[in-house]
Amino acid sequence: MTTATEETQLDPRSPLVRLAKFFDNGEFVTITPIDDSGVLSAVGTARGVHCVAFCTDPTVQGGAMGSVGCRAIVTAYDRALADSAPIVGIWHSGGARLREGVASLDGVGRTFLSMTQASGKVPQISIVLGPAAGGAAYGPALTDIVVLGPAGRIFVTGPEVVRSVTGEDVDMDRLGGPEPHGRRSGVVHITTDSEDDAIETGIKLVKLLGHQGSLDLNSVDDRDLGALLPESSRRAYDVHPLVEAFVDLDSFVELHTKWSPNIVVGLGRLGGRTVGVVANNPLRLGGCLDSSSAEKASRFVRMCDAFGVPLVVLVDVPGYLPGLGQEWEGVVRRGAKLLHAFAECVTPRVTVVTRKAYGGAFVAMNSSSLGATKVIAWPNAEVAVMGSVAAIRILHRRRLADVPEDSREQVELELAAEHEVISGGIKRAVDLGVVDCVVDPKLTRRAVAEVLLETPGARGAHGNIPL
Protein backbone atom coordinates (compact mmCIF):
# COMPACT_ATOMS: atom_id res chain seq x y z
CA MET A 1 0.00 0.00 0.00
CA THR A 2 1.39 3.37 -1.02
CA THR A 3 0.27 6.39 0.96
CA ALA A 4 0.33 10.11 0.41
CA THR A 5 2.93 10.69 3.14
CA GLU A 6 5.66 9.05 1.08
CA GLU A 7 5.56 11.38 -1.81
CA THR A 8 5.96 14.75 -0.11
CA GLN A 9 9.34 15.28 -1.80
CA LEU A 10 8.25 14.00 -5.18
CA ASP A 11 7.80 16.01 -8.37
CA PRO A 12 4.11 17.08 -8.42
CA ARG A 13 3.84 15.51 -11.88
CA SER A 14 4.97 12.10 -10.64
CA PRO A 15 2.45 9.27 -11.08
CA LEU A 16 2.74 8.56 -7.35
CA VAL A 17 1.48 12.07 -6.58
CA ARG A 18 -1.23 12.09 -9.23
CA LEU A 19 -2.52 8.61 -8.37
CA ALA A 20 -2.57 9.63 -4.69
CA LYS A 21 -4.79 12.58 -5.62
CA PHE A 22 -7.11 10.28 -7.52
CA PHE A 23 -7.57 7.40 -5.06
CA ASP A 24 -9.42 7.76 -1.73
CA ASN A 25 -7.16 8.89 1.13
CA GLY A 26 -4.19 8.76 -1.25
CA GLU A 27 -4.16 4.97 -0.84
CA PHE A 28 -3.63 2.52 -3.70
CA VAL A 29 -1.88 -0.73 -4.56
CA THR A 30 0.49 -0.64 -7.52
CA ILE A 31 0.07 -3.50 -10.00
CA THR A 32 3.13 -2.66 -12.12
CA PRO A 33 6.69 -1.85 -10.92
CA ILE A 34 7.64 1.68 -9.90
CA ASP A 35 10.39 2.14 -12.49
CA ASP A 36 11.42 4.28 -15.45
CA SER A 37 8.98 2.64 -17.90
CA GLY A 38 6.99 5.87 -18.07
CA VAL A 39 3.71 4.34 -16.80
CA LEU A 40 2.48 3.26 -13.38
CA SER A 41 -0.73 1.27 -12.85
CA ALA A 42 -2.64 0.79 -9.63
CA VAL A 43 -5.92 -0.31 -8.07
CA GLY A 44 -7.86 1.31 -5.25
CA THR A 45 -11.14 3.06 -4.62
CA ALA A 46 -12.35 6.45 -5.82
CA ARG A 47 -15.19 7.73 -3.66
CA GLY A 48 -15.74 4.16 -2.59
CA VAL A 49 -15.85 2.70 -6.12
CA HIS A 50 -13.28 -0.01 -6.80
CA CYS A 51 -11.35 1.02 -9.91
CA VAL A 52 -8.09 0.74 -11.80
CA ALA A 53 -5.95 3.71 -12.85
CA PHE A 54 -2.76 4.11 -14.84
CA CYS A 55 -0.69 7.27 -15.04
CA THR A 56 2.02 8.27 -17.51
CA ASP A 57 5.22 9.69 -16.01
CA PRO A 58 6.30 13.02 -17.54
CA THR A 59 9.42 13.06 -15.33
CA VAL A 60 10.93 10.27 -17.49
CA GLN A 61 11.54 11.19 -21.14
CA GLY A 62 8.54 13.55 -21.13
CA GLY A 63 6.20 10.67 -20.35
CA ALA A 64 6.96 8.98 -23.66
CA MET A 65 5.51 5.48 -24.05
CA GLY A 66 7.94 2.59 -24.51
CA SER A 67 7.10 -1.08 -24.84
CA VAL A 68 7.37 -1.70 -21.07
CA GLY A 69 5.22 1.32 -20.23
CA CYS A 70 2.65 0.23 -22.78
CA ARG A 71 2.57 -3.23 -21.17
CA ALA A 72 1.75 -1.50 -17.88
CA ILE A 73 -1.33 0.02 -19.56
CA VAL A 74 -2.33 -3.41 -20.94
CA THR A 75 -1.89 -4.86 -17.42
CA ALA A 76 -4.23 -2.17 -16.09
CA TYR A 77 -6.84 -3.06 -18.72
CA ASP A 78 -6.57 -6.79 -18.00
CA ARG A 79 -7.18 -6.06 -14.34
CA ALA A 80 -10.12 -3.73 -15.03
CA LEU A 81 -11.81 -6.38 -17.18
CA ALA A 82 -11.12 -9.14 -14.61
CA ASP A 83 -12.61 -6.97 -11.84
CA SER A 84 -15.38 -5.44 -14.04
CA ALA A 85 -14.11 -2.12 -12.72
CA PRO A 86 -13.96 1.34 -14.28
CA ILE A 87 -10.53 2.30 -15.59
CA VAL A 88 -9.02 5.77 -15.56
CA GLY A 89 -6.00 6.93 -17.56
CA ILE A 90 -4.08 9.98 -16.36
CA TRP A 91 -2.18 11.36 -19.34
CA HIS A 92 0.87 13.59 -19.73
CA SER A 93 2.99 12.12 -22.49
CA GLY A 94 4.79 13.01 -25.70
CA GLY A 95 3.69 9.78 -27.37
CA ALA A 96 5.79 6.82 -28.51
CA ARG A 97 9.44 6.65 -27.33
CA LEU A 98 11.59 7.66 -30.29
CA ARG A 99 14.72 5.86 -29.13
CA GLU A 100 12.85 2.54 -28.96
CA GLY A 101 11.79 2.86 -32.56
CA VAL A 102 9.12 0.60 -33.93
CA ALA A 103 8.99 -1.44 -30.70
CA SER A 104 7.31 1.51 -29.01
CA LEU A 105 4.83 1.86 -31.87
CA ASP A 106 3.97 -1.80 -31.46
CA GLY A 107 3.44 -1.23 -27.74
CA VAL A 108 1.21 1.78 -28.34
CA GLY A 109 -0.87 -0.22 -30.83
CA ARG A 110 -1.35 -2.94 -28.22
CA THR A 111 -2.76 -0.39 -25.76
CA PHE A 112 -5.26 0.64 -28.46
CA LEU A 113 -6.26 -3.01 -28.83
CA SER A 114 -6.84 -3.31 -25.06
CA MET A 115 -8.90 -0.12 -24.98
CA THR A 116 -11.04 -1.23 -27.89
CA GLN A 117 -11.58 -4.71 -26.47
CA ALA A 118 -12.68 -3.16 -23.16
CA SER A 119 -14.98 -0.68 -24.93
CA GLY A 120 -18.55 -0.92 -23.69
CA LYS A 121 -17.54 -3.52 -21.06
CA VAL A 122 -16.05 -1.25 -18.39
CA PRO A 123 -16.29 2.56 -18.25
CA GLN A 124 -13.08 4.23 -19.46
CA ILE A 125 -12.29 7.78 -18.36
CA SER A 126 -9.26 9.79 -19.49
CA ILE A 127 -7.87 12.74 -17.57
CA VAL A 128 -5.39 14.69 -19.69
CA LEU A 129 -3.19 16.90 -17.49
CA GLY A 130 -0.35 17.82 -19.85
CA PRO A 131 0.55 17.47 -23.50
CA ALA A 132 -0.76 14.21 -24.96
CA ALA A 133 0.71 13.79 -28.42
CA GLY A 134 0.56 11.12 -31.09
CA GLY A 135 -0.18 7.77 -29.45
CA ALA A 136 -0.97 9.56 -26.21
CA ALA A 137 -3.63 11.54 -28.09
CA TYR A 138 -5.35 8.51 -29.57
CA GLY A 139 -5.32 6.65 -26.24
CA PRO A 140 -7.75 9.08 -24.58
CA ALA A 141 -9.68 9.48 -27.84
CA LEU A 142 -10.57 5.77 -27.75
CA THR A 143 -12.11 6.04 -24.27
CA ASP A 144 -15.66 6.93 -23.24
CA ILE A 145 -15.07 10.35 -21.65
CA VAL A 146 -12.09 12.70 -21.93
CA VAL A 147 -11.49 15.33 -19.22
CA LEU A 148 -8.95 18.08 -19.97
CA GLY A 149 -6.94 19.89 -17.30
CA PRO A 150 -5.92 23.52 -17.93
CA ALA A 151 -2.45 22.43 -19.13
CA GLY A 152 -3.81 19.51 -21.19
CA ARG A 153 -3.03 19.71 -24.92
CA ILE A 154 -4.04 16.94 -27.31
CA PHE A 155 -2.67 16.73 -30.85
CA VAL A 156 -1.37 14.25 -33.39
CA THR A 157 1.71 16.31 -34.24
CA GLY A 158 3.22 19.14 -32.18
CA PRO A 159 3.87 22.73 -33.29
CA GLU A 160 7.46 22.07 -34.41
CA VAL A 161 6.54 19.24 -36.75
CA VAL A 162 3.59 21.23 -38.10
CA ARG A 163 5.93 24.16 -38.77
CA SER A 164 8.61 22.07 -40.47
CA VAL A 165 6.18 20.07 -42.61
CA THR A 166 3.55 22.61 -43.63
CA GLY A 167 5.11 25.93 -42.62
CA GLU A 168 1.99 26.68 -40.56
CA ASP A 169 2.85 28.67 -37.44
CA VAL A 170 0.70 27.46 -34.55
CA ASP A 171 1.15 26.95 -30.83
CA MET A 172 0.04 24.06 -28.62
CA ASP A 173 -3.00 26.00 -27.38
CA ARG A 174 -4.45 26.46 -30.82
CA LEU A 175 -3.55 22.94 -31.91
CA GLY A 176 -4.98 21.07 -28.98
CA GLY A 177 -6.03 23.23 -26.04
CA PRO A 178 -9.42 23.67 -24.35
CA GLU A 179 -10.77 25.99 -27.07
CA PRO A 180 -10.19 23.79 -30.13
CA HIS A 181 -11.11 20.53 -28.43
CA GLY A 182 -13.88 21.86 -26.20
CA ARG A 183 -15.64 23.87 -28.90
CA ARG A 184 -14.57 22.70 -32.35
CA SER A 185 -13.35 19.11 -32.54
CA GLY A 186 -15.42 17.36 -29.88
CA VAL A 187 -12.32 15.40 -28.78
CA VAL A 188 -12.71 16.61 -25.19
CA HIS A 189 -15.92 16.09 -23.21
CA ILE A 190 -15.15 18.28 -20.21
CA THR A 191 -12.67 21.14 -19.78
CA THR A 192 -11.63 22.13 -16.26
CA ASP A 193 -9.96 25.09 -14.55
CA SER A 194 -7.39 23.26 -12.45
CA GLU A 195 -5.57 19.95 -12.29
CA ASP A 196 -7.37 19.12 -9.05
CA ASP A 197 -10.72 19.94 -10.68
CA ALA A 198 -9.86 17.62 -13.59
CA ILE A 199 -9.08 14.76 -11.22
CA GLU A 200 -12.19 15.49 -9.13
CA THR A 201 -14.31 15.42 -12.30
CA GLY A 202 -12.79 12.06 -13.24
CA ILE A 203 -13.72 10.70 -9.80
CA LYS A 204 -17.29 12.04 -10.14
CA LEU A 205 -17.66 10.22 -13.49
CA VAL A 206 -16.28 6.98 -12.04
CA LYS A 207 -18.90 7.25 -9.31
CA LEU A 208 -21.75 8.00 -11.75
CA LEU A 209 -20.88 5.12 -14.09
CA GLY A 210 -19.33 2.68 -11.62
CA HIS A 211 -21.92 3.04 -8.85
CA GLN A 212 -25.20 3.80 -10.57
CA GLY A 213 -27.33 3.33 -7.44
CA SER A 214 -30.98 2.35 -7.26
CA LEU A 215 -33.96 4.60 -7.75
CA ASP A 216 -35.78 5.64 -4.60
CA LEU A 217 -39.21 6.96 -5.59
CA ASN A 218 -39.66 8.63 -2.18
CA SER A 219 -36.77 10.97 -2.88
CA VAL A 220 -38.23 12.11 -6.21
CA ASP A 221 -39.93 15.38 -5.25
CA ASP A 222 -42.39 17.16 -7.55
CA ARG A 223 -41.05 20.27 -9.24
CA ASP A 224 -42.88 22.64 -11.56
CA LEU A 225 -40.76 22.11 -14.64
CA GLY A 226 -43.34 23.84 -16.86
CA ALA A 227 -42.53 27.16 -15.18
CA LEU A 228 -39.11 26.99 -16.82
CA LEU A 229 -40.56 27.40 -20.33
CA PRO A 230 -41.14 30.91 -21.73
CA GLU A 231 -44.72 32.14 -22.07
CA SER A 232 -44.56 32.43 -25.84
CA SER A 233 -44.39 29.06 -27.54
CA ARG A 234 -42.27 30.63 -30.28
CA ARG A 235 -39.62 32.01 -27.95
CA ALA A 236 -36.33 30.12 -27.65
CA TYR A 237 -34.89 29.47 -24.17
CA ASP A 238 -31.91 27.85 -22.53
CA VAL A 239 -32.73 24.24 -21.65
CA HIS A 240 -30.05 23.93 -18.94
CA PRO A 241 -32.25 25.07 -16.03
CA LEU A 242 -34.87 22.51 -17.14
CA VAL A 243 -32.31 19.67 -17.27
CA GLU A 244 -30.87 20.66 -13.91
CA ALA A 245 -34.33 20.82 -12.36
CA PHE A 246 -35.25 17.45 -13.83
CA VAL A 247 -32.34 15.56 -12.23
CA ASP A 248 -31.50 15.43 -8.52
CA LEU A 249 -30.09 18.67 -7.15
CA ASP A 250 -26.50 19.44 -8.26
CA SER A 251 -26.10 16.00 -9.83
CA PHE A 252 -25.80 16.96 -13.51
CA VAL A 253 -22.42 16.57 -15.22
CA GLU A 254 -22.65 17.89 -18.77
CA LEU A 255 -20.52 16.47 -21.57
CA HIS A 256 -19.47 18.44 -24.66
CA THR A 257 -20.86 21.69 -23.22
CA LYS A 258 -19.57 23.95 -25.97
CA TRP A 259 -19.40 21.55 -28.89
CA SER A 260 -22.73 21.35 -30.79
CA PRO A 261 -24.53 23.23 -28.01
CA ASN A 262 -27.90 22.84 -29.76
CA ILE A 263 -28.15 19.49 -28.01
CA VAL A 264 -27.34 18.96 -24.33
CA VAL A 265 -26.08 15.58 -23.08
CA GLY A 266 -24.88 14.56 -19.66
CA LEU A 267 -25.12 12.26 -16.67
CA GLY A 268 -27.06 12.97 -13.53
CA ARG A 269 -29.17 11.15 -10.96
CA LEU A 270 -32.93 10.68 -10.64
CA GLY A 271 -34.02 9.50 -7.21
CA GLY A 272 -30.38 8.56 -6.61
CA ARG A 273 -30.02 6.45 -9.74
CA THR A 274 -27.66 7.46 -12.55
CA VAL A 275 -29.49 8.51 -15.72
CA GLY A 276 -28.32 9.96 -19.02
CA VAL A 277 -30.11 13.06 -20.24
CA VAL A 278 -30.40 14.16 -23.87
CA ALA A 279 -32.15 17.50 -24.44
CA ASN A 280 -32.62 19.84 -27.40
CA ASN A 281 -31.51 23.36 -26.57
CA PRO A 282 -33.74 25.88 -28.38
CA LEU A 283 -31.39 28.73 -27.46
CA ARG A 284 -28.81 27.45 -29.95
CA LEU A 285 -29.78 27.05 -33.60
CA GLY A 286 -33.38 27.03 -32.39
CA GLY A 287 -32.72 23.57 -30.96
CA CYS A 288 -32.53 22.08 -34.46
CA LEU A 289 -30.76 18.80 -34.94
CA ASP A 290 -27.79 19.06 -37.28
CA SER A 291 -25.00 16.76 -38.35
CA SER A 292 -22.66 17.31 -35.42
CA SER A 293 -25.34 17.41 -32.71
CA ALA A 294 -26.81 14.15 -34.04
CA GLU A 295 -23.35 12.60 -33.85
CA LYS A 296 -22.74 13.97 -30.36
CA ALA A 297 -26.05 12.55 -29.09
CA SER A 298 -25.58 9.17 -30.79
CA ARG A 299 -22.22 8.57 -29.14
CA PHE A 300 -23.73 9.49 -25.76
CA VAL A 301 -26.76 7.25 -26.27
CA ARG A 302 -24.51 4.31 -27.19
CA MET A 303 -22.28 4.90 -24.17
CA CYS A 304 -25.29 4.92 -21.82
CA ASP A 305 -26.68 1.80 -23.48
CA ALA A 306 -23.36 -0.04 -23.18
CA PHE A 307 -23.26 0.61 -19.42
CA GLY A 308 -26.97 0.13 -18.76
CA VAL A 309 -27.62 3.77 -17.87
CA PRO A 310 -31.33 4.60 -18.50
CA LEU A 311 -31.96 7.56 -20.78
CA VAL A 312 -34.31 10.50 -20.42
CA VAL A 313 -34.85 12.46 -23.63
CA LEU A 314 -36.30 15.97 -23.28
CA VAL A 315 -37.67 16.96 -26.68
CA ASP A 316 -38.34 20.43 -28.03
CA VAL A 317 -37.18 20.30 -31.61
CA PRO A 318 -38.30 22.23 -34.70
CA GLY A 319 -36.62 19.83 -37.14
CA TYR A 320 -33.35 19.14 -38.84
CA LEU A 321 -31.36 22.24 -39.78
CA PRO A 322 -31.92 22.79 -43.50
CA GLY A 323 -29.33 23.99 -45.98
CA LEU A 324 -26.44 23.27 -48.30
CA GLY A 325 -23.83 23.32 -45.53
CA GLN A 326 -25.65 20.63 -43.59
CA GLU A 327 -26.21 18.36 -46.58
CA TRP A 328 -22.54 18.62 -47.53
CA GLU A 329 -21.46 17.98 -43.95
CA GLY A 330 -23.35 14.71 -44.11
CA VAL A 331 -26.47 15.44 -42.10
CA VAL A 332 -28.02 12.36 -43.71
CA ARG A 333 -25.14 10.02 -42.84
CA ARG A 334 -24.45 11.55 -39.43
CA GLY A 335 -28.13 11.99 -38.60
CA ALA A 336 -28.63 8.30 -39.38
CA LYS A 337 -26.28 7.54 -36.48
CA LEU A 338 -28.84 8.91 -34.04
CA LEU A 339 -31.60 6.79 -35.56
CA HIS A 340 -29.31 3.77 -35.29
CA ALA A 341 -28.22 4.58 -31.73
CA PHE A 342 -31.76 4.85 -30.38
CA ALA A 343 -33.15 1.98 -32.43
CA GLU A 344 -30.50 -0.46 -31.12
CA CYS A 345 -30.69 0.82 -27.53
CA VAL A 346 -31.97 -1.74 -24.99
CA THR A 347 -31.54 0.28 -21.80
CA PRO A 348 -34.82 1.86 -20.57
CA ARG A 349 -35.37 5.17 -22.38
CA VAL A 350 -38.16 7.63 -21.74
CA THR A 351 -39.02 10.59 -23.96
CA VAL A 352 -40.67 13.75 -22.64
CA VAL A 353 -42.03 16.08 -25.33
CA THR A 354 -42.11 19.43 -23.55
CA ARG A 355 -43.20 21.75 -26.34
CA LYS A 356 -42.90 20.52 -29.91
CA ALA A 357 -41.49 17.70 -31.99
CA TYR A 358 -41.64 18.10 -35.74
CA GLY A 359 -40.84 15.95 -38.71
CA GLY A 360 -37.79 13.71 -38.98
CA ALA A 361 -36.32 15.19 -35.83
CA PHE A 362 -39.37 13.90 -33.90
CA VAL A 363 -38.58 10.39 -35.13
CA ALA A 364 -34.88 10.74 -34.26
CA MET A 365 -35.44 11.96 -30.70
CA ASN A 366 -36.30 8.54 -29.27
CA SER A 367 -39.78 8.21 -30.74
CA SER A 368 -41.96 5.22 -29.91
CA SER A 369 -41.42 4.04 -33.49
CA LEU A 370 -37.69 3.61 -32.63
CA GLY A 371 -38.63 1.58 -29.58
CA ALA A 372 -38.83 4.15 -26.78
CA THR A 373 -39.86 2.58 -23.49
CA LYS A 374 -42.43 5.35 -23.07
CA VAL A 375 -43.21 8.70 -24.70
CA ILE A 376 -44.71 11.29 -22.38
CA ALA A 377 -45.97 14.70 -23.51
CA TRP A 378 -46.86 17.86 -21.65
CA PRO A 379 -50.45 19.11 -22.19
CA ASN A 380 -49.53 21.91 -24.63
CA ALA A 381 -47.01 19.89 -26.61
CA GLU A 382 -47.34 19.57 -30.35
CA VAL A 383 -46.27 16.52 -32.31
CA ALA A 384 -46.54 16.91 -36.05
CA VAL A 385 -44.88 16.58 -39.42
CA MET A 386 -44.32 20.33 -39.28
CA GLY A 387 -45.68 23.36 -37.45
CA SER A 388 -49.38 23.90 -38.21
CA VAL A 389 -48.90 27.31 -39.87
CA ALA A 390 -46.18 25.93 -42.14
CA ALA A 391 -48.41 22.96 -42.94
CA ILE A 392 -51.48 24.99 -43.94
CA ARG A 393 -49.31 27.29 -46.08
CA ILE A 394 -48.51 24.22 -48.18
CA LEU A 395 -51.93 22.55 -47.98
CA HIS A 396 -53.88 25.76 -48.72
CA ARG A 397 -51.37 27.54 -50.96
CA ARG A 398 -53.92 28.43 -53.68
CA ARG A 399 -56.63 29.51 -51.30
CA LEU A 400 -54.22 31.72 -49.35
CA ALA A 401 -52.95 33.36 -52.53
CA ASP A 402 -56.45 34.75 -53.09
CA VAL A 403 -56.72 36.21 -49.61
CA PRO A 404 -55.83 39.94 -49.40
CA GLU A 405 -52.47 40.55 -47.71
CA ASP A 406 -53.88 42.46 -44.72
CA SER A 407 -56.16 39.63 -43.63
CA ARG A 408 -53.85 36.76 -44.59
CA GLU A 409 -52.36 36.34 -41.13
CA GLN A 410 -55.82 36.04 -39.58
CA VAL A 411 -56.90 33.44 -42.14
CA GLU A 412 -53.68 31.52 -41.61
CA LEU A 413 -54.25 31.38 -37.87
CA GLU A 414 -57.81 30.12 -38.37
CA LEU A 415 -56.69 27.46 -40.83
CA ALA A 416 -53.87 26.46 -38.48
CA ALA A 417 -56.27 26.03 -35.57
CA GLU A 418 -58.55 23.95 -37.78
CA HIS A 419 -55.57 21.90 -38.99
CA GLU A 420 -54.42 21.24 -35.44
CA VAL A 421 -57.80 19.80 -34.55
CA ILE A 422 -57.67 17.43 -37.51
CA SER A 423 -54.02 16.39 -37.65
CA GLY A 424 -52.02 17.89 -34.84
CA GLY A 425 -52.81 18.32 -31.21
CA ILE A 426 -51.55 16.04 -28.53
CA LYS A 427 -54.82 14.15 -28.22
CA ARG A 428 -54.51 12.91 -31.78
CA ALA A 429 -50.92 11.79 -31.09
CA VAL A 430 -52.16 9.84 -28.06
CA ASP A 431 -54.98 8.28 -30.09
CA LEU A 432 -52.45 7.15 -32.69
CA GLY A 433 -50.21 5.72 -29.99
CA VAL A 434 -47.12 7.78 -30.87
CA VAL A 435 -47.48 9.45 -27.47
CA ASP A 436 -48.29 7.11 -24.57
CA CYS A 437 -49.70 9.65 -22.15
CA VAL A 438 -50.02 13.32 -21.27
CA VAL A 439 -48.44 14.28 -17.97
CA ASP A 440 -48.58 17.45 -15.90
CA PRO A 441 -45.13 19.13 -16.00
CA LYS A 442 -45.19 19.19 -12.17
CA LEU A 443 -45.46 15.39 -12.04
CA THR A 444 -42.94 14.64 -14.78
CA ARG A 445 -40.05 13.58 -12.56
CA ARG A 446 -42.27 11.09 -10.77
CA ALA A 447 -43.80 9.82 -14.02
CA VAL A 448 -40.37 9.13 -15.55
CA ALA A 449 -39.10 7.57 -12.32
CA GLU A 450 -42.10 5.22 -12.23
CA VAL A 451 -41.42 4.05 -15.79
CA LEU A 452 -37.77 3.41 -14.94
CA LEU A 453 -38.77 1.50 -11.80
CA GLU A 454 -41.18 -0.81 -13.61
CA THR A 455 -38.86 -1.47 -16.59
CA PRO A 456 -36.23 -4.16 -16.13
CA GLY A 457 -32.71 -2.85 -16.63
CA ALA A 458 -30.64 -3.98 -19.61
CA ARG A 459 -27.41 -3.02 -21.33
CA GLY A 460 -26.46 -3.18 -24.96
CA ALA A 461 -23.90 -5.79 -25.99
CA HIS A 462 -21.73 -3.46 -28.04
CA GLY A 463 -18.65 -1.29 -27.80
CA ASN A 464 -18.61 2.49 -27.72
CA ILE A 465 -16.79 3.48 -30.89
CA PRO A 466 -15.90 7.20 -30.68
CA LEU A 467 -18.45 8.18 -33.37
Binding site: R234, A236, L285, G286, G387
Partner: protein, 69 residues
Protein backbone atom coordinates in the same frame (compact mmCIF):
# COMPACT_ATOMS: atom_id res chain seq x y z
CA UNK B 1 -15.97 41.97 -30.21
CA UNK B 2 -17.96 40.86 -33.27
CA UNK B 3 -21.18 38.95 -32.65
CA UNK B 4 -22.16 36.88 -35.69
CA UNK B 5 -25.23 34.91 -36.75
CA UNK B 6 -25.20 31.21 -35.90
CA UNK B 7 -27.62 30.24 -38.68
CA UNK B 8 -29.69 31.61 -41.54
CA UNK B 9 -32.37 33.81 -40.01
CA UNK B 10 -34.21 37.10 -40.31
CA UNK B 11 -33.75 39.92 -37.83
CA UNK B 12 -36.87 40.07 -35.65
CA UNK B 13 -36.18 42.79 -33.09
CA UNK B 14 -33.49 44.61 -31.11
CA UNK B 15 -33.34 44.07 -27.37
CA UNK B 16 -30.41 46.40 -26.64
CA UNK B 17 -29.58 49.90 -27.82
CA UNK B 18 -26.36 51.52 -28.95
CA UNK B 19 -24.38 52.61 -25.91
CA UNK B 20 -25.89 49.95 -23.61
CA UNK B 21 -23.49 48.23 -21.23
CA UNK B 22 -24.07 44.46 -21.51
CA UNK B 23 -22.93 41.41 -19.52
CA UNK B 24 -22.69 37.77 -20.56
CA UNK B 25 -26.19 36.35 -20.99
CA UNK B 26 -27.85 39.68 -21.85
CA UNK B 27 -30.04 39.55 -24.95
CA UNK B 28 -28.75 41.77 -27.78
CA UNK B 29 -31.32 41.06 -30.48
CA UNK B 30 -33.76 38.38 -31.56
CA UNK B 31 -33.50 36.44 -34.78
CA UNK B 32 -36.31 34.48 -36.35
CA UNK B 33 -35.63 31.12 -37.94
CA UNK B 34 -37.37 27.75 -38.11
CA UNK B 35 -40.53 29.56 -36.83
CA UNK B 36 -38.67 30.30 -33.63
CA UNK B 37 -37.63 33.55 -32.02
CA UNK B 38 -34.03 32.95 -31.06
CA UNK B 39 -32.27 35.41 -28.74
CA UNK B 40 -28.66 36.33 -29.51
CA UNK B 41 -26.86 36.75 -26.20
CA UNK B 42 -23.72 38.65 -25.25
CA UNK B 43 -20.87 36.28 -24.42
CA UNK B 44 -18.64 38.97 -22.92
CA UNK B 45 -18.93 42.24 -21.04
CA UNK B 46 -19.03 45.20 -23.43
CA UNK B 47 -20.79 48.27 -24.77
CA UNK B 48 -23.07 47.99 -27.82
CA UNK B 49 -21.28 50.09 -30.42
CA UNK B 50 -22.97 49.21 -33.70
CA UNK B 51 -25.77 47.08 -35.17
CA UNK B 52 -24.74 45.80 -38.59
CA UNK B 53 -28.29 44.76 -39.52
CA UNK B 54 -31.81 46.20 -39.67
CA UNK B 55 -35.13 44.59 -38.72
CA UNK B 56 -36.29 42.25 -41.48
CA UNK B 57 -32.77 41.67 -42.88
CA UNK B 58 -31.94 38.09 -43.79
CA UNK B 59 -28.59 37.02 -42.39
CA UNK B 60 -26.46 34.00 -43.22
CA UNK B 61 -24.35 31.92 -40.87
CA UNK B 62 -21.29 33.96 -39.90
CA UNK B 63 -22.75 37.36 -40.85
CA UNK B 64 -21.90 40.22 -38.51
CA UNK B 65 -24.83 41.31 -36.29
CA UNK B 66 -23.45 43.52 -33.54
CA UNK B 67 -20.13 45.06 -32.55
CA UNK B 68 -19.43 45.20 -28.82
CA UNK B 69 -16.57 47.33 -27.51
Amino acid sequence: MHVVAEMVASVHSFEAAIGDQVSPGDTLLILESMKMEIPVLAEHVGVVSEFAVAIGDVVNEGDLLVILL
